[in-house]
């Protein structure tokens, strides 16, 4: 009886419905798993915004919620980049803030009073659920297999490559951008397959949303034209392609130009020229196709083809000419550094200094993708077997993004979606064959023969299926094992590597208990409560957003690195002698200087380890005053101990880091635990700054800039006087008297 009732459920139209219901339940479960696996940090620590950039986004969101959309749009922020300020409304991607603002207001409308901070913290996990759904839709377009989409959704839900940028609290543009990326690609594939204006317009709409959310939209802007271009080269022009692309390009470009930060870039910047060029080429090809319909005659067709090629060549040459003459801006530095990998190190040290922009070693790939990384090539191979328009897209995307991910660690994020698609295609095609219970019979063989003959011709043997149960059990069993390892791996990686807020640090004591190191917030709250509202804080740019967000004090530079000279000024102040630095500090109204010092705790991400980048960036602007060579000993070592160079020992950064540090230790025993060296017995002396605050574990040290001396003395003299050192009267005794000359 049970069998027959099961038959009712699984066969016919109600069977379809049952499967549909199951599919929805599975997707919802995947989405729930995706959200749940991103909550480690909330559970371990608290609902807190992570890292650096999210703090700015959070601050901007608060501004948006408090002041409304239009004043957000026109926001001029005078509390950053003192004294320049920043046109924040016109220089950010507003998509993220507007999204959470809208959610906030909707929840308010439903009388659910949620703090805006909780929305910001949980936005990324929430959108990862949507990404899993979008991934399902995208993969279903690639394969007829019912399981591929679900597998891809599950992979996307928990793969660390995506979790790394979307844990709870990581309130960054990528949080919503990956969903938009995948969904835009889905709509684009739909548009190409159906040749429908509706899908094309929807793709343009979501492309516009993507542009408003993340600078990585340039990837879409170039990938879709490339897809079309390859299709044209393969001789696959069709009116479907034409309709989809022209709709997408026209509407999408208009949409993207509505963002003030993007503005006229789509027609003036080389990054966007590929899309424009393909748009023009497509018009030519469409025209040629149209004319060809009326004119038979082989000679004429040849002429037409060469005409099209010639026009395209001329257009290309014109584009190059415009670029050279400067009407069209050349490639942006960040984009250029992807192709010429040595470019950034020479020309834009500020980009090279960011650890996210380093190349990727192979363990990072395996760490972020686990066994998907070897299913990935197999999936790409399967795409070559079918090679419809959408498979061409997968192949291009796969090759390009694996190159990008190899050059820059952070672009692993764009690789992850396509790896999930390809791996799901490969895995589902194995499972679909090995998970069929019934043995192949002569009848099914004949059927398969007939079916395959239509598709592949006589080239290949037809699919017959798997005969023995043992084979099926062996393969499915081992694949299940790999899948289980994958899940365990993802959980382990997420829990260990990607769930630290980096504002709050956790470490293990020898007895195994957890110690929370909360120095950052301690120091920022000290600033908030003990300094006047407009006290200017100078720190290296990494901490600018956090100071703005947590301490709510004006900063000189922050993570929006728009003004290299200003950053170099800070670098110069940090790497020069006090006598040089003090006038710089005075000129920039600096009240407090903040440094991060990990020597006591062994925290390696401190300012002394970043110091060489400050020197390099300063050297780029003042090559005569700051020289990187001076910070290395004669043997070319970067040292901080007794052997350190005089330039190093006299630099403001060194002095601030080690000021009074030796007093923690018995005489001559001071040790820097990060660099693992013993420090000089006598610590550095500060004349123009005084220590204002040092956090519990000495990670953050804040120094107050002294005002000018009341008696108009030199600061060094004043300090010497206070210490009771008698001033040497050297000038009077020595040498003959000199007449004063005017």
């Amino acid at each position: 009886m049970a069998e027959s009732s099961l038959d009712v459920l699984l066969k016919g139209s109600s069977g379809q419905r049952t499967r549909g219901l199951l599919r929805i339940i599975i997707i919802l479960t995947i989405a729930a798993a995706a959200v749940a696996s991103r909550l480690f940090s909330v559970i371990r620590f608290e609902s807190i915004i992570h890292e650096f950039d999210p703090w700015f986004n959070f601050r901007a969101t608060k501004y948006l919620v408090e002041n409304g959309f239009y004043s957000f749009w026109d926001w001029f922020d005078d509390r950053t980049w003192h004294p320049l300020g920043r046109v924040t409304g016109g220089t950010l991607y507003p998509g993220l803030m507007v999204t959470s603002g809208v959610i906030y207001h909707i929840l308010r409308l439903l009388t659910i009073p949620v703090d805006i901070r909780n929305i910001c913290v949980l936005l990324a996990p929430g959108f990862s659920g949507l990404t899993a759904l979008a991934m399902y839709l995208l993969t279903c377009e690639m394969s007829t297999s019912p399981s591929a989409g679900l597998l891809a959704a599950a992979f996307m839900g928990i793969t660390p490559g995506y979790i790394s940028r979307s844990v709870a609290g990581s309130y960054d543009n990528e949080a919503i951008a990956i969903f938009l990326l995948v969904f835009t690609f889905y709509l684009w594939i739909k548009a190409v397959k159906n040749g429908s204006i509706m899908w094309g317009a929807l793709a343009a709409l979501f492309y516009g949303y993507m542009v408003s959310a993340w600078g990585g939209y340039v990837f879409i802007t170039n990938l879709i034209p490339l897809h079309v271009f390859v299709l044209l080269c393969m001789g696959r022009y069709s009116s479907r392609t034409y309709i989809a692309y022209t709709t997408w390009y026209a509407l999408g470009t208009l949409g993207s130009m509505q963002i003030p930060f993007v503005g006229f870039l789509p027609i003036r910047n080389s990054d966007h020229m590929a899309a424009l060029g393909v748009f023009g080429l497509l018009q030519l090809v469409a025209f040629a196709e149209f004319v060809r319909g009326f004119l038979p005659g082989k000679q004429f067709q040849k002429l037409l083809t060469s005409m099209v090629l010639l026009t395209f060549g001329l257009g290309f040459a014109g584009l190059v000419l415009l670029t050279v003459s400067g009407v069209i801006a050349p490639w942006s530095g960040r984009f250029y550094s992807l192709w010429d990998t040595g470019y950034a190190k020479i020309h834009i040290p500020i980009i090279a200094s960011v650890s996210e922009h380093q190349p990727t070693a192979w363990p990072a790939f395996f760490f972020d993708l686990n066994f998907l990384i070897w299913l990935f090539p197999a999936g790409v191979f399967l795409c070559f077997q079918k090679l419809n328009d959408e498979h061409v897209f997968v192949i291009i995307y796969a090759v390009l993004s694996s190159y990008f991910a190899g050059v820059m660690v952070r672009l692993m994020l764009t690789l992850t979606p396509i790896v999930c698609v390809a791996a799901a295609l490969a895995l589902s095609s194995v499972l679909d064959n090995f998970l069929v219970m019934s043995k192949p019979t002569a009848e099914t063989q004949a059927k398969a023969n007939a079916k395959d003959a239509k598709i592949y011709g006589k080239m290949k043997n037809p699919v017959v299926g798997i005969y023995s149960y043992f084979s099926k059990a062996f393969v499915t069993g081992s694949l299940t094992l790999y899948l289980l390892i994958f899940v365990a791996h993802c959980t382990w990686v997420t829990s260990n590597a990607y769930s630290s807020p980096s504002v709050v640090l956790a470490s293990r004591l020898p007895d195994g208990s957890q110690m929370i190191i909360d120095d950052y917030r301690e120091a920022y709250y000290w600033l908030r409560q003990n300094t006047p509202d407009n006290a200017k804080i100078m720190s290296w740019w990494d901490y600018g957003y956090q100071i703005g967000g947590m301490a709510d004090r004006p900063t000189l530079v922050d993570n929006n690195t728009w003004n290299n000279t200003h950053i170099a000024t800070v670098g110069k102040a940090m790497s020069s002698r006090e006598e040089v630095s003090y006038p710089i500090l005075r000129q920039h109204d600096v009240d407090y200087v903040l440094v991060v010092f990990g020597g006591l705790l062994g925290y390696s991400g401190d300012d002394l380890n970043k110091f060489l980048w400050m020197v390099r960036i300063a050297e780029g602007i003042w090559p005569d005053e700051i020289k990187e060579r001076d910070f290395f000993t004669a043997r070319g070592e970067y040292r901080v101990d007794e052997e350190a160079t005089p330039t190093m020992k006299n630099s403001l950064m060194y002095k601030m880091s080690y000021y009074n540090y030796q007093s923690l230790f018995p005489a001559g025993q001071a040790v820097d635990r990060v660099r693992g060296v013993r420090l000089p017995a006598e610590g550095p002396q500060l004349n123009t700054l005084e220590e204002a605050f040092t956090s519990e574990n000495w990670i953050i040290r804040i120094f107050k800039v002294k005002d000018l001396d009341n008696l108009d003395r030199d600061h060094s003299n004043a300090v010497a006087f206070e210490k009771g050192i008698k001033r040497k009267r050297a000038t009077k005794k020595k040498g003959p008297r000199v007449l004063r000359t005017e």
């Binding site: 991910a405 194995v430 798997i466 081992s478």
Partner: protein, 326 residues
């Protein structure tokens, strides 16, 4: 050239006897010598050029051009130095600003190298004037050591930075007509070749398998960290300190060239076994053969994946997962 220079030498000697402004004539002399490029100096003329009363800047490169010194940078930079001095001499500059460019080869100027205690070459010395409108109080020359390969533009920027403010001639690189012509020829040749060979080449270009192979190889290379090798210039293999070879670099952020190739090979084996399971095996009609194929391919995947996990474990010490054989 020759009579002119002798004439100037004569003139300078002559005027040196009578006139009270020898430095002007020194400049005239060397400037005349250097009308087309830097002056070749030896110890004596270097001494004369740089002795105290001078109303001009003297920029001298101390170099070792001869092949047996093996100074690659010297020879590479010689053309750039020539370019700099030519650009300067041709262009218009500030009134009264005089610069002499000179080249001192080690073969002719050992004494100078000893005097400045130079161990390396090339080195640029820039002597400021001691008299005249741009005179500097400290007459010590500015010195620039080559820490790495340097372009002419970088050096030119360094020199102009040490000269007084004002208009300076830009660095002009001559148009390389040879390169343009050869570029056009090669382009036309390529087009012709393509047109002639297209019946034979087109089937290859349009071959799906070829493109599949290229794409897969590219993906395997990129995902196994080839770009990291390229950018960081990592060693191919390294010794393990006991006379053996260590194939895998310690640490998560390091890798060797050989290591990435091994990893790429592992990925390739895994991927192709999966392809075989997905595509080849279900098409086999022979029952026994299929069973055997499944066992082989499944076993290969299992063993290789186990190897991959163990390799990863060596890179990342705390990694808790493994598969039995390795």
């Amino acid at each position: 050239m020759k009579p002119w220079s002798t004439l100037f030498v004569l003139f300078s000697v002559f005027s040196g006897v009578f006139a009270a402004k020898p430095s002007v004539d020194k400049f005239q002399k060397y400037h005349a010598l250097s009308r087309s490029g830097p002056v070749d100096l030896d110890s004596a003329s270097f001494g004369e050029l740089t002795t105290a009363p001078r109303d001009y800047y003297a920029a001298v490169i101390l170099t070792a051009m001869d092949a047996h010194y093996g100074c690659l940078m010297c020879r590479e930079f010689d053309a750039e130095w020539d370019l700099i001095s030519r650009s300067w001499n041709k262009g218009s500059k500030l009134d009264g600003l005089k610069v002499v460019f000179g080249t001192l080869d080690f073969d002719h100027g050992k004494a100078v190298f000893q005097k400045y205690m130079l161990q390396t070459a090339p080195v640029i010395l820039l002597f400021p004037p001691t008299v005249g409108p741009f005179a500097k109080i400290e007459a010590e020359p500015e010195r620039l050591d080559f820490t790495g390969p340097m372009s002419g533009d970088q050096l030119y920027a360094w020199i102009t930075r040490h000269l007084p403010d004002g208009p300076k001639p830009p660095l002009v690189r001559p148009v390389n007509y040879m390169r343009i012509v050869s570029g056009i020829t090669i382009l036309m040749g390529a087009v012709t070749l393509f047109t002639v060979l297209s019946p034979y080449v087109l089937p290859i270009i349009q071959n799906r398998n070829l493109w599949a192979a290229v794409s897969l190889i590219a993906i395997l290379l990129f995902t196994s960290g080839q770009m990291f090798n390229h950018i960081r210039k990592v060693p191919y293999v390294a010794g393990d300190g006991q006379g053996g070879i260590s194939y895998f670099a310690g640490g998560f952020q390091n890798q060797f060239g050989m290591e990435t190739q091994i990893v790429a090979a592992i990925y390739a084996v895994l991927a192709f076994s999966t392809i075989a399971l997905a595509v080849k095996v279900p098409r086999m009609e022979d029952v026994k053969g299929q069973q055997l194929a499944v066992l082989i391919w499944g076993g290969v995947i299992f063993g290789t994946y186990s190897l991959l996990l163990s390799v990863f474990k060596t890179k990342n010490g705390g990694y808790p997962f493994f598969l039995p054989p390795f």
